[in-house]
Amino acid sequence: MVLTVTDLEISRGGRAVLEGVHFTLLPGAALILRGPNGVGKTTLLRTVAGLQPASGGHISGADDTIAYAGHSDGLKSMLTVTENLDFWASVFGRSDIGAALDAFDLRGLASRLAGNLSAGQKRRLGLARLMVTGRPVWVLDEPTVSLDAASVGLFVAAVRGHLGQGGSAILATHIDLGLQEAAVLDLSVFRASPRAAQADEAFL
C-alpha cells in the first residue's frame, strides 16, 4: 500500500503549523519525522491517521490501512494482557495474537492485568497491539517512550519484520533507533509562514 501525502497543510488550535508537506511511503519503507518540539509532528501523524482534518492538501492510501499508536496506549487496566490484545484483534477482524506476544516478549505477562504492568511493559503491550491489527501502515508517535534498551531492540526488530512483510511505518521520535534503512524527514522546512491562511482569517 502506497501512502502519498501531497501539499498537506495542518493547523493546531486554529493556527497553521505546517504547510506544503509532501512525502511518499512505499511498501517496505520507513520514514522518521524529526523536528523540534511544537513543530507539528503529533498533529501531522494524527492527520495522517484520519483523526483530524487537514486544512489543505491530500492524503491518499490512508483509508483502512493505518494502525495508529499515540501517546496513550488505549489499554484497559482491568483486563489482562491477552484480553487487551484479543479485543483489538477482534475489532480489526483478526484473531491471532501469538506472534505479537512473542515479538514483544509478553508471553510471561500474558495473564497479568494491564494495570499491574510497569510503564515500559504497558508500552510494549501498546506496540504489540499494532501487530494484531494486520494494518499495513504503522503510524507511531514517540513509540519508544519509557522503553529500555532491550525493549527498543524488540521494537526495532518488530518494525523490521513488518517492513519485511511489505508493510511500512512512519514514526516521530527523538532518539536514534538504529533503523538505518529508514528515510528521515525534517519537518522544520515545512513550518508554516506567519502569513499563511488561518482558521480565523475571516476576522482579519
Binding site: 491517521a49 484520519g50 483523526l51 483530524q52 482534518p53 483502512d64 493505518i66 494502525a67 495508529y68 499508536a69 499515540g70 501517546h71 496513550s72 496506549d73 488505549g74 489499554l75 484497559k76 482491568m78 483486563l79 484480553e83 484479543d86 479485543f87 483489538w88 477482534s90 475489532v91 480489526f92 477482524g93 497491539r129 491489527t133
Partner: protein, 218 residues
C-alpha cells in the same frame, strides 16, 4: 462491535462500578423519599410510580460520564476511531452497554423498591414495562450528552444540565404509563408515545453523538 460490547460488559463487571453503584443509588433515593414526605402509605402509594421513575432516571444520570470518558482518557477512543468500525456503531454499542449495565438492573430492581413504596398491586407490571421501554432512550440520550461534554473539566455538572431537559419527554410518558397502570387505567396512548421516543432516539441520536464525537476527537 460484539468485541466492544463484550469488553465493556467485562470491564463493568470487573470494575464493579457498573452494576452496583447505580442500583445502590436507586435504592438510597427510594429510601430517602419516605423520610422526606412522611410514612403515610396512601401518599406513598400515590407517588410511588413517579418516585421510581425519577430514581431510575437519576441513577442512570450518575453513570453517564463513565460511558465515554474512560475510553477518552486512556486513548482508546482515538484508536477505535482508526479501527474499521463506524463511529455511529461505536456510540450505539456504548449506549447498549450502558443500558445493560445500568438500565436493565434498574428495571429489574424497580418492583422490589415498589414494595418499599407500597406501590399499588396493578402497578408492578407497568413499572417494569415502562422502565423497560423508556430506559433505552435514557441511555442513548445520555450517550449524546456524554459525547458533548467529553474532555471538558467539570464535565459532569454540565452533562447533567444538558441531559436533564432532554429527559423530560421520556420521564413524562414513562411516569404516566406507570401511574395509569397503578391506577388501573388504560396505558395505550402514553406507552405508544414512550415507545416512539425510545425508538426514535435509538434510531437517530447515534448519528448526532457520532458527529459530536468526531468533532471532539480532532
Amino acid at each position: 462491535m460484539r468485541a466492544l460490547l463484550a469488553r465493556d460488559l467485562r470491564l463493568a463487571v470487573r470494575a464493579g462500578g457498573g452494576f452496583g453503584l447505580g442500583l445502590a443509588f436507586f435504592l438510597i433515593v427510594t429510601v430517602l423519599v419516605p423520610f422526606g414526605v412522611g410514612p403515610q402509605t396512601a401518599l406513598l402509594t400515590r407517588i410511588a410510580p413517579g418516585v421510581l421513575w425519577i430514581g431510575a432516571l437519576l441513577a442512570c444520570l450518575l453513570s453517564l460520564d463513565r460511558i465515554l470518558a474512560l475510553d477518552w482518557e486512556d486513548g482508546t477512543l482515538d484508536l477505535l476511531a482508526t479501527a474499521p468500525l463506524p463511529m455511529e456503531g461505536i456510540v450505539s454499542v456504548k449506549a447498549l452497554a450502558h443500558w445493560i449495565t445500568t438500565g436493565l438492573p434498574l428495571v429489574l430492581a424497580a418492583p422490589l423498591l415498589g414494595v418499599l413504596l407500597n406501590l399499588a398491586p396493578g402497578g408492578f407490571l407497568w413499572i417494569i414495562v415502562s422502565l423497560a421501554v423508556g430506559t433505552p432512550a435514557l441511555s442513548v440520550i445520555g450517550t449524546f450528552g456524554a459525547a458533548l461534554t467529553i474532555g471538558l473539566k467539570r464535565g459532569g455538572l454540565l452533562l447533567s444540565l444538558l441531559v436533564l431537559p432532554l429527559y423530560v419527554p421520556t420521564l413524562i410518558f414513562g411516569a404516566e404509563v406507570a401511574r395509569r397502570g397503578a391506577d388501573g387505567l388504560g396505558v395505550g396512548a402514553p406507552l405508544m408515545l414512550l415507545a416512539g421516543i425510545s425508538l426514535g432516539a435509538v434510531a437517530l441520536l447515534p448519528f448526532a453523538s457520532a458527529a459530536v464525537l468526531r468533532i471532539n476527537l480532532r
